[in-house]
Subunit: 280 residues, 2 copies
């Protein structure tokens, strides 16, 4: 049964990857006018990688005209956690064997008015088994409409499973996606959750619903803003905000730390970093 | 006596800062021709900051034509280390009071043929007292001549104090300035040392000599390359190498961690980050 569950989780992450890639490529084709910067529509390139200790993944990356860089990674890795990392992972304190599969999406649009976004869901098994994930929006110029619609999409998903989840997971995101050394949030939040343990079917359905909600709402936000012109000053603000994003990911992000400390492919782990960032 | 030593250390770091700023401004004035990019010679701007728990510093930053960004920070901070940080600091395990003063220099030249460089020396006092520091060269396109001259300058300093130091501190730098997750060095090395404890006069003289050697050799390397033309492809390589520099500083650098975890001014601590970096 554990094996069947692992297979279903992995296959879902791969199916969602395929769907997101198709959605982003469709947006690339739709963009037109001066905001296309004279560039051709981007296409995803995929590169498979293997993890020395077991498993591996596929990086899918698109460098285009709407998305200056968007990465969709799926990885399924297994083996033994290195000490002392095992000590920090539930159920791995005594038996360091693990299996983990997940999808990670990070979009860095070219247009400063189109909000960057991140989504990640994962299933992890040690002597215990749980789901984790999150999604957050990182607009350069926040506006109420986008923030409201992004949160509403996530709240709808949460509410269908547990009336307490959205509040809890939103607060968790506010705490998690926070740049402590600057005392500022990394964006306008979303949801974050981890160690969701229990009824596999229910939690797996929630995981799928989070992915589906992201695949519905984010393309809508991109289309809403992608034809808006921008200035060189807007671009500068964008590059500085991207620097903050780099700071968060390298200093605080759990997935990044997990990937780098478990011997994940650094190119895949760091695919979340923006194509260009400034610390002027 | 401790107070007099602290004052002398702090005054040295400030004097070295003034000298380095003057040297870099002189280089800015000398640059001419197309490599000056039509820009005016840069001048340092200074900004003082205070640390809530005690002390503070002055950030000096120049954004110019030879140096796209160069920062020279002096800070003198004191108070109590937060737990659990105190546990990691010699002599602070039982009494978390500390005093620390130091200088930090990071140069990011505009011309990809001019090597970026870093130098830092510091004096720290808890219930113990020691000096630490280091200097390393981070060329985009390493060449034997620059690497040899940079190392020779540091070796001369070390050899004048202890015949074993250069070998030991060079190895320490090779180990320290290493990007583990990519299994690659951040540059061509230099020296790194910490917890140099004992004869204050001798160690303070060594600290001054390291600063003086850097102030002699680095301007020489900059002048050697600053009129060499570069291509857009060279610039791209530079931006990617700068991304690696960001990865090192945010993930591994002790000074950065120390600064962020002891409530240093994040703008000052992160002044080491390059003006523009790419993860294409």
């Amino acid at each position: 049964m554990a094996e069947a569950q692992k297979t279903r989780a992995r296959e879902w992450f791969e199916a969602l990857r395929d769907r997101l890639c198709a959605l982003f490529e469709a947006i690339e084709r739709e963009c037109e006018g001066p905001v296309a910067c004279g560039l051709e529509p981007g296409r995803f390139e995929r590169r498979a990688w293997e993890r020395p200790g077991g498993g591996g993944g596929v990086m899918a990356i698109l460098r285009g005209r709407v998305f200056e860089k968007v990465g969709v990674n799926v990885s399924t890795v297994f083996g033994r956690f290195p000490e002392p990392f095992a000590k920090q992972i539930p159920g791995a304190e005594e038996d360091p064997h693990f299996w983990a599969s997940g999808i990670s999406v990070v979009a860095h649009p070219r247009n400063p008015h189109v909000p960057p976004a991140h989504m990640n869901t994962r299933h992890i098994r040690t002597t215990r088994a749980w789901f984790g994930g999150g999604a957050d929006l990182n607009p350069i110029f926040p506006n109420d409409e986008d923030t409201r619609d992004f949160h509403a999409a996530l709240q709808n998903v949460c509410d269908a499973f547990d009336p307490g989840w959205y509040g809890r997971f939103k607060t968790w995101a506010d705490e998690y996606f926070f740049i402590r050394h600057r005392n500022e949030p990394r964006g306008v939040g979303g949801i974050f959750y981890d160690y969701l343990e229990g009824d596999f079917e229910r939690l797996f359905a929630f995981t799928r619903a989070v992915g589906e909600a992201f695949a519905r709402v984010y393309p809508e936000l991109v289309r809403r803003r992608m034809h808006q012109p921008w200035s060189e000053a807007d671009r500068q603000v964008q590059l500085v905000r991207r620097g903050r994003y780099v700071e968060f990911n390298l200093i605080y992000d759990r997935g990044t730390r997990f990937g780098l400390e478990t011997g994940g492919n650094p190119e895949a782990v760091l695919m979340s970093l923006p194509p260009l960032a400034a610390w002027p």
